[in-house]
């Protein structure tokens, strides 16, 4: 517990990748294999389910620290994290619990799930008594199922690779699938002995990334040298099929095969030695679902059948990086695309429903393409991608061959009406805002937004909120209507659940309009006009 807490604290205290890897290496070097296995388990996001409900922890913390409930809740709102609030509120203690991590987990945490409440109560209290602040924080997080630490699987993998001299992708492979956090397992992860199937077949290529186009299209030359494609808003993925094995890599170089089993299954139908580049999208009845649906699947290690049925996915495929075990990246895009089309049309039945080739958008002129781009909203795409037909597949973000051409968001001027404290990085500051627009001389709330302001602006708004509070409802404060902000959003829908009658997608603050008085903010009618225009566009 001691060493693991130190690791957690170190990881928390730096945002430098190298230092995180160093801290991980130091931990794994010192730790007993039985403890290391559990650490690996927690660090790779396989946190145990909630053992004791947060509600109970809150109740006991209130009892021990002798603060009234309202003061606990105020504290919680300021800290933005329950486990941390409790660690801060408990009576000070400097003793250190040196129970090994695996003993703590196996003997004091796991058996507690579903145990009698009095047993839970006694165990939790005696643990709190034995631990200092940092240990309590880690313990509270583990026991409430909220343990999370700012390292990606990639960093953990890298640290283990450096320590054991085993290539990173082999470590990544060994960490796939279901495993039990035992000493035996950990030894197998870091062993330098290669198994027959551990050749570097899982290795992905670096992704080619594009910039937003920031000059007139005409500068690109003739349209016939370019291909335009709809730009989908999903998860970028590289699909690898080599030696009968399938690997799905996200852009963050996370191995995500387990999170999308249906794609992995379909990829088994691809020819040997194939690598595809594309976008995972939530998809039903030939139409894309909101990105938020996909988000429900991203954070999970284990995907239930229910989730598979609720959020079906497909892959919009747009490039071919390897074919018949040959690196295709230096071939021209046009040729890669042709081969890709052949692969996708000849793929066996099982793969057809999952892999779809991204349609190219044909236009005779840039002007015509500009007109076609107007359909982006009704097609629920972000705009267009422009790719030069004779371009290679490059490494990383590059100007010249690929361009993003995203559509402009809707914008509206709205008045700040309510504010709430943020969480995590923004805890203790009023950063979550509700905005209103005019309706028959009254301000009606219509969207919540928080991102988009600079730290300096956030502080100014925070000060404003504190100085101009009208009423307090729990964590929410209503403020005097004085500030106007320009909001941007991607889509707009009718909604009976919202007071304003509309729901907007991805609302965010574009800028602070301190040049505008609240009377100059937009009205609900203006939003409804946007909505009508949007719907009409969809019917075309």
């Amino acid at each position: 517990m001691k060493l693991f807490t130190e690791l957690y604290t170190e990881l928390e205290q730096t945002n430098k990748t190298n230092e995180k890897v160093e801290a991980l290496k130091f931990y794994f070097e010192c730790a007993d294999a039985r403890d290391a296995a559990w650490a690996l388990y927690f660090l790779s996001g396989r946190k145990p389910r909630q053992i004791v409900p947060s509600k109970k922890l809150r109740e006991w913390a209130i009892e021990i620290s002798q603060v009234p409930e309202w003061l606990y809740d105020e504290s919680r709102d300021t800290v933005g994290d329950g486990a941390e609030t409790i660690a801060l509120l408990l009576p000070n203690n400097s003793s250190i619990d040196d129970t090994p991590l695996h003993v703590l987990v196996e003997e004091r945490l796991v058996p507690l799930r579903g145990a009698d409440e009095t047993i839970q109560y006694e165990e939790v209290l005696s643990s709190w008594q034995a631990m200092n602040y940092s240990q309590r924080l880690v313990y509270n997080k583990l026991i409430s199922g909220s343990f999370r630490v700012g390292v990606s699987q990639l960093l953990v993998t890298r640290a283990l690779a450096q320590l054991s001299d085993v290539p990173t992708d082999i470590i990544a492979q060994r960490l796939m699938g279901d495993w039990q956090p035992t000493a035996e397992f950990y030894e197998k992860v870091v062993t330098s002995e290669m198994k027959a199937d551990e050749r570097p077949i899982a290795r992905p290529f670096p992704f080619h990334l594009a910039h937003q186009i920031d000059f007139p299209l005409e500068k690109l030359g003739e349209i016939k040298d370019w291909q335009a494609e709809w730009k989908w808003d999903g998860i970028r993925v590289q699909v690898i099929k080599r030696e009968s094995q399938v690997f799905l890599w996200s852009r963050g170089e996370d191995l995500i095969s387990e999170r999308f089993p249906e794609i992995a299954e379909a990829a088994a139908f691809l020819p040997e030695g194939t690598v595809l580049d594309g976008e995972i999208l939530p998809w039903r009845d030939d139409s894309v679902l909101p990105f938020t649906e996909l988000q429900r699947r991203i954070g999970r290690k284990n995907i239930s059948d229910k989730m598979l049925a609720e959020v079906p996915v497909i892959v919009q495929v747009y490039d071919l990086l390897e074919f018949e075990n040959e690196d295709m990246r230096t071939e021209e895009f046009e040729k890669r695309r042709k081969t890709l089309e052949q692969i996708i049309t000849s793929i066996d039945n099982g793969g057809k429903t999952i892999f779809r080739i991204t349609d190219s958008v044909r236009a005779e002129s840039w002007k015509q393409l500009t007109e076609k781009r107007e359909n982006s909203r009704s097609l629920k795409v972000e705009g267009l991608m422009l790719k030069k037909l004779d371009s290679p597949y490059r490494v990383g973000r590059h100007r010249g061959d690929w361009w993003k051409w995203k559509i402009d968001p809707f914008t509206i001027d709205a008045v700040l009406l309510y504010a709430q404290k943020g969480t995590g990085k923004r805890a203790n500051l009023f950063t979550d805002y509700t905005f209103a627009v005019w309706k028959e001389g009254e301000l009606v709330p219509f969207a919540k937004a928080y991102s988009g302001l600079t730290d300096k602006e956030i502080r100014k708004v925070d000060k404003f909120v504190r100085d101009n509070t009208k009423e307090t409802f729990g964590p929410v404060r209503s403020v005097l209507p004085k500030l106007v902000f320009e909001l941007a959003f991607e889509a707009i829908q009718k909604s009976s659940r919202h007071k304003s009658g509309v729901a907007v997608r991805f609302p965010r603050i574009l800028r602070w309009r301190d040049d505008k008085a609240i009377e100059e903010a937009d009205s609900l009618e203006a939003i409804h006009a946007l909505l009508e225009g949007y719907e009409a566009e969809g019917k075309k």
């Binding site: 504290s75 995590g424 990085k425 923004r426």
Partner: protein, 351 residues
């Protein structure tokens, strides 16, 4: 407080004593200002006359200007203004910080400004004063704010500095230029390496030295010709320098921030510093309770910070408390930053 016969009332310019015709820490220009300490949210320029604690005179001069009319009074000395007896008493916040005791016809008020009870070698310790009405801050008025013993924090800072030194990194610690910076330099192990200061810190540090506070030798960053001199050293700078180009000269470095806010992880992440050191010049939750209890005041007015929370807590626990909306900030961050930047710009000009 708003009652007409109240000895001290809140006006749009600040706390006011009508009987003595003076203001306490006013934020708009007035004829006579009594000032608790030299932090920017308590000491404003432009008043006709000032009365400040003698121990903080040098700092006040820097803040108010050398041509201002400043009278001083030592801790414990009584000044009579129109029959109102006024005396300064140590507040333990920063060098020369005071609580102001105001007495008229047996009624005693204490305006405490900002204060802490934690021992601090750079200023006189907080003095408990019995009074009828106590005006308190509440910058850290939540029970999550309970400070770790100062020795442990200094061990952490020393360790951090040593570790950076070993890795060939410069250590840059951000601390408010008035008070915190000097407390850090006084408490740190000065044998570890050389200490350099930002322009905003240097001038106030000089004033601390002249006032007799024990501080290690420091060198002004702007006076360094060869950047190699910074190797393994500690740089003390105001928080506003954090993301400025001023930082470039140090090469590979690690950043730390010394502030009570650093007790919450979210606050540290927001500052985007490598390390947070929980070192505050304000009373924590426990100290606030102690200070308030020891006054035996019949009414406590809470002026800044977690006002509503502390007021509710005191009332629920048998102390009559009321909120008082002043323009004090408590968290020196915002205003001190502005001042530090002013100094900083001057420094650039002078280069």
């Amino acid at each position: 407080m708003s009652a007409k016969n109240s000895l001290i009332t809140l006006t749009k310019s600040g706390l006011y004593c009508e009987r003595g015709d003076f203001f306490l820490d006013p934020w708009l220009p007035v004829d006579k200002a009594i000032v608790t300490h030299a932090h920017a949210d308590h000491t404003y320029r432009g008043n006709q006359k000032y009365l400040v604690p003698r121990e903080g005179e040098r700092l006040s001069r820097i803040r108010i200007g050398y041509d201002a009319v400043i009278e001083t009074s030592a801790y414990g000395e009584t000044v009579d203004i129109n029959g109102v007896k006024i005396s300064f008493h140590p507040a333990g916040h920063v060098l020369g910080s005071a609580q102001v005791r105001v007495e008229y016809k047996g009624e005693i008020w204490v305006v405490s400004g900002d204060y802490k009870l934690t021992p601090d070698a750079t200023c006189a310790p907080f003095e408990h004063i019995h009074c009828h009405k106590f005006i308190t801050e509440a910058t850290f008025g939540l029970p999550i704010y309970r400070w770790t013993p100062t020795e442990i924090i200094f061990e952490q800072i020393n360790d951090w500095w040593r570790r950076n030194q070993k890795k060939g990194k410069v250590s840059v610690i951000f601390a408010y230029s008035l008070g915190k910076a000097q407390r850090v330099m006084n408490g740190i192990d000065r044998h570890i390496g050389k200490i350099f200061t930002h322009g905003a810190v240097e001038r106030l540090t000089q004033a601390y030295r002249e006032s007799g506070v024990d501080l290690p030798e420091t060198k002004y960053v702007g006076a360094v010709e060869n950047k190699k001199e910074f190797a393994g050293s500690l740089i003390v700078a105001p928080p506003s320098a954090a993301s400025s180009t001023w930082m470039r000269r140090f090469g590979t470095h690690s950043t730390g921030f010394a502030s009570g806010w650093m007790i919450v992880r979210g606050a540290r992440r927001r500052k985007a510093v490598d390390r947070g050191f929980v070192l505050s010049d304000h009373a924590d939750w426990t100290e606030l309770q102690t200070a308030i209890r020891e006054t035996h005041a019949e009414t406590v007015f809470v002026t800044h910070g977690f006002i509503d929370e502390l007021v509710r807590w005191l009332n629920e626990n048998g102390t009559n408390a009321k909120p008082l909306q002043t323009q004090f900030v408590g968290d020196e961050d915002a205003l001190e930053d502005v001042l530090a930047t002013e100094f900083f710009e001057k420094e650039i000009e002078n280069q």
